[in-house]
Amino acid sequence: MSVIQPRVVVEGLGKRYRLQHRHDRHTYTALRDVLTDAIRSPLSWLRSTTANVDVEEFWALKDVSFEVGEGEVLGIVGRNGAGKSTLLKVLSRITEPTEGRAVMHGGVASLLEVGTGFHPELTGRDNIFLNGSILGMPRADIARKFDEIVAFAGVDRFLDTPVKRYSSGMYVRLAFAVAAHLEPDILIVDEVLAVGDAEFQQKCLGKMGEVARSGRTVLFVSHHLATVENLCHRVMLLDRGRVKLIGEPGEVIAAYVNHAAPASVTPLLDRTDREGSGVLRFAEVRLLADDGHAVQGFVVGDDAIFDIQIRNLAGQAHRSVHVSIGINSAMGQRVTTWSTSYAGGDLPVTPASDFVLRVRLPRIALIPGSYTYNLFATVGGDVADWLLPAGAFEVGAGDYFGSGQLPGTRDGTFISDHSFQLT
């Protein structure tokens, strides 16, 4: 999509943090530490600052450049720590960049948290005015939109009740309702829709789409890839503070899901948080696409392969070996289990040395999101190895049904094949 009239122009933006690595330090400095340091090494200020190895520089953002046009919704995705939140904080002016610049053509409102400044003791009515004002809305505007806000939140009966007595759903609805009625030219939204029930989330997404259609610009961060794919015109992938890719949502999300940087985790074989006799040991799991290349995740509807390398420490063949892979949602709930007991039968006899067990999953039917997996192996009924969890993978939104409509989290917890016919 070509950018018609850029509303947001970001050029070479960078944000550096200095991390102090010293004794288990609190986030703030105590004067005591400064004084004791001064007493311990009174001449330290004479030394050059480069000698001070305690300070580590860390670029949370580096060389970030992009443009967003009028009426465009830009999605921002990336792993935790990729710099998404820092970018939004810089663009919201909460913190200053270290280098580069951003030009915003128009009024900016940002929603980095739902209900910032809400006070539990105050009533719903009071909090609408307070929160609106904190978000930069003039009082006259709040008064004008008051009825609309109340209607959107559906809390009219509780307007004069302190919000500490609200259910968490009501609280979130009220908070989002205030923010939804800001009318900025540029709206910056962080992962705030993760809260609230499905129906309300739907309403919020509808509102955001409406905002974009009325010619406003939206910058939207979410882990929720299906939402990003549905709502955004373009998507930007951040990786370790840099822009890795920017373009069509489907393309960028696929790239994110398939080639995201491997997480620096302990190799399975070195992990000590395991149970079992150790006769067999899980050594490595490789996720492969159906064409055999390694991936970090899958797209709904893809054929997937898990290659599980198993170390046979006993150096002898085993009978009645069972291996299970338990798949858990990001919320820790068991979603499904793939097991040799169900699908493979007993592995007749394992090789006497290390071996690879390949699990094939035609047309992955998991709802988009993050998943973890546990590995479990028994030999003759005794637990040989058990890792909980052994690893993680992402499932990105995909066209499972071939209908152009992508199933998302709102649709439930799993996807099932179905058909309709008139009878």
Partner: protein
């Protein structure tokens, strides 16, 4: 409307933005007051009880010490000093902890940060205006009519606010980085209560201590309040008043400068 974000840029439109966000100052002050009095049985009466009790204690103290009488009653002499003192102490203690009490605002929304301590001072001013009612009642009870000097009262109130704001801004910014200063303010207030002319009149301070004594900027301010409320025959030390004003102006300038300098790092540090 065009907004440019780059290093060191935040300064350029700051004061205009402060004006734009003036309603927020009102709402935050209102929130502080509403929350403070919402869950109390006697509510706003608390604003009156503290100065009233302080006054009673100091009047009794004067009687016990056999302090010499001035042209007005002890009650008026003490009350006219307790009121500005409480304004100063409340504004200072609230504003100096205002930033660390509003961490979520600092890390989640943008607005000129001066609004936060500013709102604390504004809330303290409202409490002060309520206590002026107490003063009026006591004056009627004593049958005391103020003179033309009362016209100077607003100026003195502004000076008190300015002094507490200046020191409060400095301490609020320091508190973000060094939480130790949380403990400094109650100490300042405790000491201040005894080295300021509240239980006594400045006229009673021995001449050789006068210079050192008037380095306390509250001396000039509180003496000014007494002069304004109790009438022109109350002695007023010009030197002390001048020093108060100079220190007040310096503290406001330094407080604002220091706050502005630290402000851009608040969200990163807090």
């Amino acid at each position: 409307m065009k907004l440019i974000i780059e290093p060191g840029r935040s300064a350029s439109q700051y004061w205009r933005e402060l004006w734009h966000y003036r309603e927020l100052l009102y709402f935050l002050a209102w929130r502080d007051l509403a929350v403070r009095y919402k869950q109390t049985v006697i509510g706003v009466a608390w604003a009156l009880i503290r100065p009233a009790l302080t006054m009673v204690v100091f009047v009794l103290f004067r009687r016990l010490m056999g302090a010499e009488r001035s042209h007005v009653s002890d009650v008026l002499l003490v009350l006219s000093a307790v009121l500005p003192w409480q304004l100063f102490a409340n504004a200072l203690s609230e504003s100096s902890t205002s930033l660390i009490n509003n961490t979520n605002l600092l890390s989640k929304v943008y607005f000129p940060r001066l609004i936060i301590p500013g709102a604390s001072v504004a809330a303290a001013l409202v409490d002060f205006l309520i206590t002026l009612g107490l003063l009026a009642v006591v004056m009627m009870w004593q049958g005391f009519a103020p003179g033309w000097t009362l016209a100077a009262l607003p100026v003195l109130v502004v000076a008190t606010l300015a002094l507490s704001t200046g020191i409060g801004l400095f301490l609020a910014a320091l508190n973000v980085q060094y939480r130790d200063f949380r403990y400094v303010v109650p100490f300042i207030i405790q000491i201040g209560l005894f080295v300021s002319p509240i239980a006594f009149a400045s006229a009673n301070v021995p001449e050789r201590w006068k210079l050192l004594y008037s380095f306390n900027p509250l001396v000039g301010i509180i003496d000014g309040f007494r002069w304004s409320i109790l009438g022109a025959q109350t002695p007023l030390d010009r030197r002390a008043v001048t020093m108060s004003l100079v220190i007040t102006v310096l503290s406001v300038c330094y407080g604002v400068w220091y706050f502005r300098r630290m402000e851009r790092r608040f969200a990163d540090v807090i």
